[in-house]
């Protein structure tokens, strides 16, 4: 971008930069500092990151309410709380919201806020594009949800929206149209963001910050941005085809005109499986920052951590058809994708063992971020192992599309991605806002959510093996599913309590911080290791007074404590 701003250097720490002395280019950088205008007009990566986080939390409440409706409906056989039609909309909107409007933007929040800080840059490469990304994402997300009010109901085709069930003949309301266009907009936003962050990491690292000195979080986010860059175009194409079919009478998925019903599935999962790693790798990065910090040890096997992330990034492209083991692909394809799926478990296992090795021999402080991180290691392992049982294709034909797989991906996405994101929120909250979240409430949040999560999703393993199909609006008393469904429904209320504790924590921490005269937590409240902790909290607008010069991994730690012997 040609719009380079000249920032005055070497200001006293904490002071804003003020207006650039002589802005170059056509457009001046917006310089409102306070009030809502400063948020709407901002191109600052930190404010954009915070807005991503806030929007994700908002959508999390929406998706969470939808989850509670699902669980209330399934609390008894022949449930009548929701009609079949509404149930299908609610579970679809829940899935799409949680994947595209909660976990992805929450991960984007951390990427936006932290990548420039961790590599010692003053902003992302293209700040205006960054703002465009955010507003497009928000627009796409809101647009998608307006289907409830103006589309004749939400999308009712599942988050995977298989053709031909997604066609007009089978889904005549406009919910699927909103799905196709809404995701198209949010997808373009992610694509722009991915290019932006890749360029940032590759070009804007501080002097001495070589690739192999970057924090693991930055590395994982870099891998994620490449996955986004290559996978989003596939879903873009698929969504365009769907829109053309539904709105302009095209026949890409019209079976009677010779379309192959598996076309959509291939397109969706070639995007959809890398998407799974897009959702989980940021959290892997987050705990890879927190565990060393709280253990007071460097990350164990940095090269293994980085390369296993890259390996997951590459292998993630060769496993998509394991979502289609029951679709009649033929035994050779099934065997090939079965094996490739098994072996992607290896780099993932390496990460888990390396985290444990990082903790081994440490002096671990079990504060809230560390509890959530350890929770991720334990809970994600369960999701990973049920993933391995899914990779065994013959077993998968019994388990797929049952609650067993619902349990599997919730252990991965909730027990993995979300716990990691919560860990990150507690960890970087003082850096972003200049105040600590209350530790005791944080611990209550963790333990209640851990119990609620296992109560909700643990029984789903059993339900799945007992033969309960997913995406069913109800079940029969004679199926024998009642008991564990009740347990799961109880669990979702426990999760809801945990989330109320979290929201209350945000409020209570803020108000007691205000009452106490806004004490500053200091630049480095956790005695941490990466560059963002070397600058004041909250981060000044220009990030670094002086662009740091980097001499090794964990440079900031070594500046504090000298080199290890």
């Amino acid at each position: 971008m040609a719009l380079v701003e000249r920032e005055p250097l070497a200001l006293p720490s904490g002071a804003g930069t003020g207006v650039a002395v002589e802005p170059l280019g056509v457009l001046a950088r917006p310089h409102t500092k306070t009030g809502w205008r400063s948020w709407v007009s901002t191109v600052d990566h930190k404010k954009i990151g915070i807005m991503y986080g806030a929007a994700a939390l908002l959508f999390f409440l929406v998706g969470g309410l939808e989850a509670m409706l699902i669980r209330i409906q399934l609390a008894q056989p022949n449930g009548t709380v929701l009609s079949a039609d509404v149930y299908n909309q609610v579970y679809t909107m829940h899935g799409v919201t949680m994947v595209f409007l909660v976990i992805m933007p929450m991960a984007a929040a951390f990427a936006n806020y932290l990548l420039p800080l961790q590599i010692g840059a003053r902003d992302v490469a293209f700040p205006r594009l960054n703002a465009l990304s955010f507003w497009m994402f928000l627009g796409g997300g809101l647009f998608f949800n307006t289907a409830w009010f103006v589309g004749g109901g939400g999308a009712d085709c599942g988050w995977f929206c298989y053709a031909p069930n997604s066609g007009v003949a089978f889904s005549p309301t406009h919910g699927v149209d909103f799905y196709a266009v809404g995701l198209q907009i949010a997808g373009a936003a992610s694509l722009i963001g991915a290019v932006n962050l890749i360029v940032t990491v590759l070009n804007m690292r501080a002097p001495g910050m070589t690739l192999f000195r970057m924090p693991v979080f930055t590395w994982m986010q870099l891998v994620v941005q490449f996955l986004l860059l290559f996978s989003l175009p596939v879903i873009t194409v698929a969504l365009f085809l769907l829109t053309f079919d539904r709105s302009f009478g095209a026949n890409f998925f019209n079976i009677s005109q010779g379309a192959d019903p598996l076309l959509w599935q291939h397109l969706f999962w070639i995007f959809g499986h890398p998407e799974v790693y897009i959702l989980i790798l940021p959290s892997f990065g987050i705990v890879s920052e927190i565990i060393p910090t709280m253990s007071r040890k460097p990350i164990y096997g940095y090269p293994f951590m980085v390369f296993s992330g890259i390996a997951i990034g590459f292998m993630g492209w060769g496993v998509w058809a394991h979502h289609m083991f029951a679709s009649g692909l033929g035994p050779i394809s099934v065997a090939a994708f079965s094996l490739s799926t098994m072996f992607i478990a290896v780099p993932t296992g390496v990460k888990i063992l390396n985290w444990m090795a990082t903790m081994w021999g440490g002096k671990i402080t079990f504060n809230t971020p560390m509890l959530f991180s350890a929770g991720l290691v334990a809970m994600f392992t369960i999701g990973g192992l049920s993933g391995v049982t899914h990779s065994v294709a013959p077993a998968d034909t019994q388990q797929t599309d049952t609650y067993y797989i619902v349990a599997h991906f919730h252990y991965v996405l909730f027990g993995g991605a979300l716990l990691g994101l919560f860990a990150g929120m507690y960890f970087w909250w003082p850096k972003a806002f200049g105040l600590m979240l209350n530790e005791r409430l944080g611990k209550v949040h963790f333990w209640v959510i851990l119990v609620g999560f296992n109560l909700t999703f643990g029984p789903m393993h059993i339900l799945g093996l007992q033969g309960m199909s997913r995406r069913i609006q109800t079940y029969q008393p004679s199926d024998g599913f009642t008991f564990w469904n009740r347990v799961a429904t109880l669990g979702v209320f426990v999760i809801a309590v945990a989330m109320l504790v979290f929201l209350y924590n945000i409020y209570a921490s803020w108000s007691s911080w205000k009452k106490a005269g806004r004490p500053n937590p200091g630049a480095d409240p956790w005695d941490a290791r990466s560059l963002e902790w070397s600058i004041p909290s909250p981060t000044p607008e220009h990030n670094f007074d002086v662009i740091p010069e980097v001499h090794g991994q964990d440079d900031f730690w070594h500046r504090k404590y000298g080199e290890d012997e």
Binding site: A84, N88, D156, Y162, P164, N165, D260, P261, L262, K297, P298, G301, F304, A326, S327, G328, P331, A335, V346, G349, L353, M356, A357, M359, G361, G362, K363, I364, A374, T381, I382, L385, S386, T389, P394, A395, D396, Q398, Q399, T400, T402, N438, E439, R440, V444, G464, G467, S469, R470, I472, Q473, S478, F481, F483, V487, L490, S512, P521, G522, D524
Partner: protein
Amino acid sequence: MSDQFNGEVERRKMSPKYDHLKRVRKYVTVLLGVSLLALAGCGSERTPLTTLDPRGEASQAIQNLVVPVFIVAGIVFVFINVGVLYVAVRFRRRKGEENEFPEQVHGNTKLELGWTIIPALIMAGIAVGTVATLVTLNTEPDNTAKDFEVRVVGQQWWWQFEYDLGRDGTVDFVTASEMVIPTGVPVDLTMTSRDVIHSFWIPALNGKKDAAPGRLSKLWMQADEEGRFIGQCTEFCGLSHAYMRMYAVAKSPADFDKWVAGQMTNAKIPAAGTAERRGLEAFTGNCAGCHLISGVNTPDCTPIKTEAEYDAKANTCWVGASPYTGAPQVSGMAPNLTHLMTRYVFVGALYELRNVDTGEINVNNLEGWIRNPEDYKPMAPEPTRGNTYGRGMPKINLTEDQIDDLVAYLSTLAPTSA
């Protein structure tokens, strides 16, 4: 700065402000415990769809693979989770260690290579078993003993089973909701669909296989014992997905042959002037546009109207019309009702048609379904954007007398020998 901050945390910990939380925590724990105990009271239910109770060759082959995989996964689960707890307890920072530094270990390549290679080896072991089982499941079974195949057709929201005796490519008879198979031999199934993608799954006999429109996919299953094995459509297929069920009914080879012989016959035409005959008239006047009964109508649409034609048992068809749009509909798009009363379930195999033990017809269900189908399962029979016919059984608005006659007629639909 850092020390000052820690002081702040300590001060906040001491504050009595959060003491009430302790009490809340206690109440929550007690409440959770009590509710769990209450729920446990209604545990131990029968689960007929279970994946862990194989009753056939194919499902047994899967089970033999699943059990060791679960054991390996269980061991790893215990190892990691106990490991995390152990590490957390042993290496937690204790009081007075605030300023201590552990040894700064950066890694150990040999160790890390070890825990890369060992999982890879475990996976390789699982891979061998997986491929071997895949070969078993995909090998065309030797089926010369019973030379027939079943074409399984999914449709929103019920299953049709077309029997091809002699595997000559022609359908010999058609049934719905219940797929009858002989015990002790593998049965070849070919899956397809008329509308969206469905998935055929009888957990006791084999894993699931999608039934996709425009494609044929193969599956075989063998039941080792007689019985009724329940199944469920497992690919989301719209409104009534939850209500799309089916049974595989395994009969002894002798009973199966008898059943086949019965299914091959045409339906009886009731004598003129009886309630059953009036029911047949109601059928041809209101139902025959979609439903087929062999001996009464056929899909190739030569309308019959005269008694002589009934009595001659001519294979003819009835052109029906959508009750909503009047658009012509094709016979055969709804379940084939020939010998309906050899089945025990109907309406997506969800409702009782006849008592499994006594064979008594559930007249209530049959009448209720004809009277108002949408009371029984969610459907969308009205035409919608992009769909002239609607999906599912429409409300026909028959008089109560017509319903009685129709039920009387339908109750006769069984082969003479049965």
